[in-house]
Symmetry: C2
Subunit: 340 residues, 2 copies
DNA sequence: CTTCCGTCTGGGAACGCTCCCAGTCGCGAT
DNA sequence: ATCGCGACTGGGAGCGTTCCCAGACGGAAG
């Protein structure tokens, strides 16, 4: 008698109202902790709620209020991202913490196929979320386009070149790359190469430009290897190529820590000491950097902050504030360890 | 005139009906691709849809149908998980692909604080998702408890000891640990130690038990180091301790690849060769295994399948099928590389 | 010509909330 | 005694769908 299966017929606000002996309106007011509810009514309602085991039906609430109190995070290519980009975890945590403070629920949506892409677009436009954060979108990203057209609150982490009017948060890749290359040069290196990646995004382009700017006249295009992915294996292949082209190479800037780790592996294999024979620097200050032998000198990205700021921008839009769409650039820092 | 801002007032099914000159019911039938709609009506509706820029409001749909076509994935402690457990990415992809096939949307929910925990519980009970998958829940997990009480469709990846009646997918940790330890022993090792972790879950306990079973009389409790986390640093600390206790140690089973990588680092540091002086085996067959020097012999986990099977179980429950709550154990395989 | 059935359509009635208007009550000020 | 106002409550209307029943239509079978 007592233990009815809750799954089949869930208690509604009306049941609560009936048990508490008040009206629907009063229950709603208690639920949303509004003013103008007498203590007696309030406690009658809370008692009734626990008695009937009431949980609010969000679908109905969303329908009535036209908001969901949820923000989506769109993650592309989860495979490469989770495995190769250790910053995604910190970004996610930063987003979550900012949303959590505002009592918004973060829901992550993974895109792994064409079909996913459509479904997610529908999900976003269907009122499941009030806003969206998109991480590392490439140019011509279909989701980014849908979001832009829909006019839904949104922010990017990283800068998609072809989308205007949506705020984004990022770092100054050019300056950071220039700074660490300069520092590497100042350790007395004469022949410095680079392994570049992700040239289909601003970030990749800018890191390469920064490298070039730092080197000035000493820049030699032959010593720049470009690969599509920021992967460990890209670092290995790239370094082999560099050694082929310039056996006298004495410095390498890898555009990610994962690639820098690959560079170290090759150098160890061919018996060159680091930082004795060759100085190596990376980018990201990810877990790769501290694990590497020797630990990498690299550029620290404020990944958590990146996420947090993007989330805050979305929340501000949700509050109806107008936000700057110019882009926010956070400070990076050089972390000097033992690899150069 | 033409380009009205879509954000403010979105077209509803009624607008579509009006423009198409049919009734609400017919539009709904077209939307859900039901039978019994004339070709004329169908094309009038599709035309009207694109004309007014209609997108379906899911909140209303969920309310009416009492389902959301979404499944939640609850991820605890994202920090340690994303950084230390490289399998989570594959599990996620496996889940996503299974759900995607059934046209269900995966939404990942991160739990990083007490408050998150409450909010997620509310989210799950509020009708945002039809089912839920929980990865690596510990004992006394509050979310797991809520899910169990709610009677919502659910599945676990990994086995939470204190929850009954919910299906789970896992591997046979005991047999796998026993098998790889046996194989290590067969390379002629006499003094084999273990670095165990995660003893607050079945998986950790079982790996230790498997190790013990493989060794039989040769088992020496002093040669088992236990640490809470499956982390790289745990491996480093553990190996130092083992060398202290048994300088003549010639084999190590680390309960994760990350720890095994730490073991290798220490052995290199003290000048012991691998696999010459010491044979090392890990567990997971994660990216750590192939990156390590030398590459690790380890236990391969079918991570993608783990996720897929869990998702399929949830989908089956959603179709109203009764599923076996006994637990599904997937096959592991030993991958023999160069570290032993 | 009637009957029956399959095809197609319209629209009332939910679904479970929130919003908001109308109204009651009690109390201090006039 | 009357008024005004703040505190509180009830309940109708509406959010945008789906569900489903009633009914129209047309053609084949009797």
């Amino acid at each position: 008698m007592t233990a009815r299966r809750a799954a089949s017929a869930r208690a509604t606000i009306n049941d609560v109202a009936a048990v508490a002996g008040v009206s629907r309106g009063t229950v709603s007011r208690v639920l949303n902790s509004e003013a103008y509810v007498s203590d007696a009514a309030r406690s009658a309602v809370t008692d009734a709620i626990s008695k009937v085991g009431y949980v609010r039906n969000s679908a109905a609430r969303n329908l009535a209020t036209r908001q969901s109190h949820a923000v989506g995070l769109v993650v592309h290519e989860p495979h490469s991202l989770f495995l190769e980009d250790p910053n995604i975890g910190s970004i996610l945590l930063g987003i979550n913490s900012a949303l959590s403070d505002a009592d918004y629920q973060l829901v992550s949506l993974v895109i792994d196929s064409e079909r996913d892409s459509h479904r997610v677009a529908e999900y976003l436009s269907g009122g499941f979320v009030d806003g969206v954060i998109i991480v590392s979108a490439r140019a011509h990203d279909p989701i980014a386009k849908v979001v832009a057209e829909l006019g839904i609150a949104a922010a990017f982490v990283g800068h998609p070149v072809d989308i205007e009017g949506i705020p984004y948060v990022g770092i100054d890749n050019f300056s950071a790359a220039k700074a660490i290359t300069t520092k590497l040069k100042e350790t007395g290196r004469r022949r410095i190469g680079m392994i570049a990646a992700g040239l289909d995004r601003d970030s990749g382009q800018d890191r390469m430009a920064g490298f070039r700017a730092a080197l000035g006249d000493a820049f030699d295009p032959d010593l720049v290897i470009t690969t599509p992915l920021y992967a460990h294996t890209s670092g290995i292949d790239g370094m082999r190529l560099l050694l082929d082209r310039a056996p006298d190479i004495d410095g390498v800037f890898a555009a990610s820590d994962a690639m820098a780790a690959g560079v170290l592996d090759v150098l160890r294999e061919v018996g060159r000491s680091v930082p004795g024979d060759v100085g190596v620097v990376g980018f990201d200050d990810s877990a790769w950097a501290t694990r590497a032998q020797p630990p990498l000198s690299t550029v620290h990205q404020p990944a958590g902050q990146l996420g947090r700021r993007a989330a805050e921008s979305v929340l501000a839009q949700l509050r109806g504030e107008t936000v700057d769409t110019a882009g926010i650039f956070l400070e990076t820092a050089i972390v000097w360890r033992d690899s150069a």
